[in-house]
Amino acid sequence: MSLPRTDKQLVALLRICALIAASILLLILFFLIDESRPVLQHVALTRFVTDASWHPAQGLYKLTPMLSATLYATIGALLLATPLGIASALFCSYYAPSLFAGCYRRLIAVLAGIPSVVYGFWGLTTLAPIIGHLHPPGVSLVTGVVVLTLMILPTVALTVDAALAAVPVAYLRSGAALGLSHWGLISGVALPAAHSGIAAGIMLAAGRAIGETMAVLMVAGNVAEQPHSIFDPVRTLTANIALEMAYATGNHRAALFVSGLALMTVVVMLVSTAELFKKNTHKHV
């Protein structure tokens, strides 16, 4: 049976829109590669790993400490934000009285919109001195992780909340009829049913954490060296670009775009891993 004509037109229109959305990424990659070319022509790729340090003005381009910083900060933030975000969503959907739930949701929605500079400013003036008392210098990996957690928590919370709202009430009623406890219903029925939405929320939050620039720039210390403890200052790839782009020319500027490409590689690897993981554990509810 072929589709009615309106449906065929609809599909054509939708395909065009989707292609536009997908081509944006290609344009961005093309842009990054184009801007990196000047330095890639003169500097071998291996030097971005083997050089002594990151001092582009003197021809040193070591990127690996910043790569590790990005990974540590992102993973740290995800480890904290995922359970807290899911807990927040569960709170709104199953535990809180409806008045609380509404206020809490509004609070999280507002926090999704607070500018990164405000988070960074608060982190720098309020959080960093507190952490500095524990262990100088205060602006460090752990401060960056805490601020990032706050920033991506709304993403996780709101998406998981929406996913939980979409779980058919019939599922929960059947579970209750079978005698499942409150937590049994949540862990055995609601969360598995919403697993796709939860995964989407985590992916979006991960993307946000990797791509965050302003806030980490202000609170993570920005020293381009491998951290040996969570209280060491670190520089993420994004902060690197933002920090030096304003005054960089020629090879320095192109090297910053190379760090942008390095970041995109990390993101692509992350997404591929997630896709493989999903394929292997695909369950039918």
Binding site: P137, R235, L243, A246, Y247, T249
Partner: protein
């Protein structure tokens, strides 16, 4: 409730039509002057631009940021009429014309809680290169020093390195910052920090109660006054650059910006008017 969505839709449509329709009108007799470059200069240039617009009613002065390197490349390529550069022009930039409109100084700052009152040149170099790591060696508390350095490529860093005869790889910082305000706030939040920022900004913030203090350099106190009478050694020029000899409104603007008519604006941004 149906009313709400129709109202919203109506408002949005009106705004959209208004937004798109004004384009034709605005192009008619308005002359646009575009400045891009250093974010240090941007607030000052913006204020000078506003005063310029009051005098020349048909001119619009648009100031954009993007950094000194952007100022140089945009002035060269013609994307901007004037570039804003917060340092002296380099050797390979002599194809451009520079006009200094103000001076800015660099001061070393400590947290107010730090008992150290003065450091000589040798001590500063040793602290920043990591040879002295504890404040007690220079007469302070028994605490590790948190060295705050500026990011690579920044003109304040280059001035600092040039004055103390260091290379950027020599410095061993615990924190690296970008803008002056970030530096001030980092030092204000850490009693064992040492950093360097613009004199004017530091003097203002200290006056407003931020827990920082400015260190004198080689016996000269770091203050706007000493910048004005040129007794303070660490200073940098704030420049407007053009590719060709300025003409028309570009010329008028640069003459305005280098005149005494904008001295109060320069002082309001905590810089020192350029000697003319």
């Amino acid at each position: 409730m149906k009313k709400l969505s129709t109202i919203v839709a109506l408002v949005l449509t009106i705004v959209a039509i208004w937004g798109l329709s004004r384009t034709k009108l605005s192009n008619s007799k308005i002359e646009k002057l575009v400045l891009t470059g250093s974010s240090t200069l941007a607030p000052l240039a913006s204020e000078i631009g506003k005063r310029f617009e009051l005098i020349h009613g048909h001119v619009r002065v648009d100031v954009q940021t993007g950094g000194s390197s952007r100022g140089i490349s945009d002035a060269r390529s013609g994307l901007a009429d004037i570039g804003m550069v917060s340092r002296a022009l380099k050797q390979d930039e002599k194809d451009l014309l520079g006009f200094t409109i103000a001076l800015d100084g660099i001061s070393i700052i400590l947290n107010q809680a730090n008992p150290v009152k003065v450091l000589d040149k040798r001590q500063i170099i040793d602290i920043f290169t990591g040879k002295i790591v504890n404040w007690k060696i220079v007469g302070g508390n028994d605490a590790p020093i948190t060295v705050i350095n500026k990011a690579e490529g920044r003109s304040t860093l280059e001035l600092f390195l040039h004055y103390f005869d260091l290379k950027s790889t020599d410095i061993k910082p615990q924190v690296i910052i970008g803008d002056n305000q970030q530096g001030i706030k980092t030092v204000a939040g850490n009693p064992d920090a040492i950093g360097y920022v613009s004199v004017g900004a530091a003097e203002y913030e200290a006056g407003q109660g931020a827990p920082i203090k400015l260190l004198p350099l080689e016996g000269v106190a770091a203050s706007m006054e000493n910048l004005r009478n040129h007794s303070f050694p660490l200073s940098r020029p704030l420049n407007l650059v053009t590719r060709t000899k300025p003409a028309g409104i570009t010329k008028a603007f640069i003459e305005f910006a280098t005149s005494i008519q904008v001295n109060d604006l320069i002082k309001a941004q905590y810089f020192v008017p350029a000697p003319n």
